[in-house]
């Protein structure tokens, strides 16, 4: 029953290779969950754009927009064909207030990324 190509009839939105899902500096009203494929996470400084990492299937992206009022900190770009599901900020926050444990996995993800950043800083300084 495994399908080889991304099924366009199923859930989420399909982005083609190189298509921008969201851009650094944009106002974020949703977070993303990768359903299929890989997403490049890029950060730009002046005229230079650096690939921070490649996010994979099942990962959350853009979750900071749910909890702060700042703009997008990074650009998300499809690496190959990608299918992404969005989670609305407003409704999701309302549901977190009803069931705080709904935020557990996002906190877990953020915690993991803080650790990775710490490791990266240590590596660069070391």
């Amino acid at each position: 029953m495994k399908k080889k190509s991304i099924e366009k009839g199923a859930l989420g939105k399909v982005y083609q290779d190189g298509e921008i899902i969201t851009r650094q500096g944009d106002v974020g009203e949703v977070m993303y969950v990768i359903q299929q494929g890989k997403v490049d996470v890029l950060m730009g400084t002046n005229d230079h754009e650096t690939l921070l990492r490649v996010a994979e299937e099942g990962e959350f992206l853009g979750e900071m927009a749910i909890f702060d009022h700042d703009v997008r900190s990074a650009t998300l770009r499809a690496q190959g064909e990608v299918k992404v599901l969005t989670i609305d900020k407003k409704n999701f926050l309302k549901r977190i207030h009803e069931d705080p444990s709904l935020a557990f996995r996002i906190v877990q993800t953020m915690s993991k990324r803080v650790r990775e950043l710490g490791d990266e800083v240590a590596r660069l300084k070391g």
Binding site: M1, K2, K3, G9, L85, R95, S101
Partner: protein, 454 residues
């Protein structure tokens, strides 16, 4: 293993390392309860065992694997599950729904999703209808059961024949087996299972939910025809047919599911609906109501259970409290998760469930009361041609002018999809702009409009 905690120095009923939990019913409520009990236990560093009792194998085609349901996973639930790390794969989602088409005798209007994305899933609870030839998609219930098993739950394929209390603990017997005692019993038997009767003899005040019958019929049309004729849209019908409250045609992979809600649904009502001009226009040209693939008349709960908890026993999903007419699987998720949170972090006594689990059920029940008012209003609109015209005109204008506020469109979207609480939907209808526009359209609809198409 005792579930009271001697280390706490109190006689508190709670889950401890080695506690055994029985879950009767392996549908969404049972699988969600098992999944979240194990997940919460892991977070609390608790080692518990879970055994799911389910006689059916959901990977079988109907009726052996069917759980008799329209099979719509709401937008809210799809997002909640994604946030929980539970993504619904293409092998289970038969079709992503991106719009609703409202059919009335006065015309038809398409209501597009508020976001440019498919976030509603059409699924089969089992492996598909009776006459399925090629299995292209898997069962939704089987998928959830497998997630629970991957977390550590054990599934026993047997029908529970007796439930009793043994020294204050629930004891369960399956046909031909010895009784087994557990520290907690989670009942997730729905309202259509004979297992519901087994709880009558347990003296803690449980009374099952009040129910009404629905009607579901499956038609094989083939993937191409479905895509051409029905598309990725759920088709809903507000027709002035006596006793019919709500009807929908849901496109799946190769099949279309016809779902009816109403009073005393019988052959006459079903025939009246299927032979209506609105249904014929929606279906392929050569389609006839017969032959069909299969049909069923499952019960749905219309009023929640009384006392759906006791010491070491709790009811989740339909056999506890569910949402009125819509999003039953979403209610199964909410109640199962609230049950798991209570059992792991608060305790498993009647008082624990009353304090921490019942508020979730009560909020669903209260919302259902508002839902009844909302559905009553819909019924009035169904009966009055000028009101139907007004609703159609208002929706058509909103859908044709992109910058226009989607007042009635959002109300209808949430009503049909079950994505929002009935309270939120009702509150939106009280907005002055909504009321003003509706009043204007009611006045303007005195003159008949030309029939339009999506």
């Amino acid at each position: 293993m005792a579930a009271s905690n001697p280390q706490s120095g109190q006689d508190k009923l709670e889950l401890v390392d080695g506690s055994k939990v029985a879950v009767i019913g392996g549908g969404p409520a049972g699988s969600f309860a098992s999944y979240f009990l194990l997940e919460m236990a892991e977070r609390a560093d608790l080692d518990i065992e879970i055994e799911i009792y389910e006689p059916r194998d959901f990977s079988c085609v109907a009726p052996g694997g069917c759980n008799m349901c329209g099979g719509i996973i709401s937008e809210t639930l799809v997002q909640n599950l994604a946030a929980e790390g539970i993504n619904l794969p293409d092998t289970v989602v038969q079709r992503g729904i991106e719009s609703y088409v409202l059919h009335m005798d006065v015309g038809t209007v398409r209501i597009e999703t508020p976001v440019d994305e498919k976030r509603i899933a059409a699924v089969y609870r089992g492996a598909g209808p009776r006459d399925i030839q090629v299995r292209k998609w898997g069962s939704f219930d089987h998928h959830l059961e497998e997630l629970a098993v991957a977390r550590g739950a054990k599934v026993t394929r047997g029908r529970v024949t007796q439930i009793s209390m043994d020294d204050g603990r629930p004891s369960i017997s399956v046909k031909g087996g010895e009784p087994k005692t557990y520290d907690l019993l989670v009942a997730a038997v729905g309202v259509n299972s004979p297992a519901l009767k087994l709880f009558k003899d347990l003296d803690f005040g449980y009374e099952p939910p009040q129910t009404t019958k629905t009607f579901i019929r499956e038609y094989f049309l083939g993937e191409e025809v479905i895509a051409k004729e029905l598309g990725d849209s759920m088709h809903v019908f507000l027709l002035n047919i006596p006793r019919l409250e709500f009807a929908a045609i849901i496109p799946k992979g190769d099949y279309a599911s016809v779902c009816l809600l109403g009073e005393a649904i019988d052959k006459e009502l079903v025939d009246a609906f299927l032979n209506s001009d609105e249904v014929k226009e929606c279906m392929p040209d050569d389609w006839e109501p017969e032959p069909r693939s299969c049909q069923c008349s499952p019960k749905i709960a219309v009023k929640g259970a009384i006392q759906p908890y006791g010491d070491r026993i709790v009811f989740v999903g339909d056999c506890g409290v569910t949402r009125l007419f819509k999003d039953g699987i979403g209610a199964a998720y909410r109640t199962a998760k609230a049950c798991a949170t209570t059992a792991v972090f608060e305790g498993i006594s009647e008082e624990d469930f009353r304090s921490h689990y019942w508020p979730v059920l009560r909020s669903i029940s209260r919302d259902n009361a508002i839902g009844k008012v909302t559905f009553s209003a819909t019924k009035v609109i169904q009966m009055l041609p000028f009101a139907r015209r007004a609703m159609l005109r208002m929706t058509q204008k909103e859908q044709s002018i992109p910058e226009r506020h989607k007042d009635i469109s959002q109300v209808l979207w949430d009503m049909f999809t079950g994505s929002a609480p009935y309270k939120d939907i009702f509150t939106r209808t009280l907005h002055p702009r909504f009321l003003g526009r509706l009043c204007w359209e009611l006045l303007a609809s005195a003159a008949p409009v030309r029939r339009s198409h999506p």
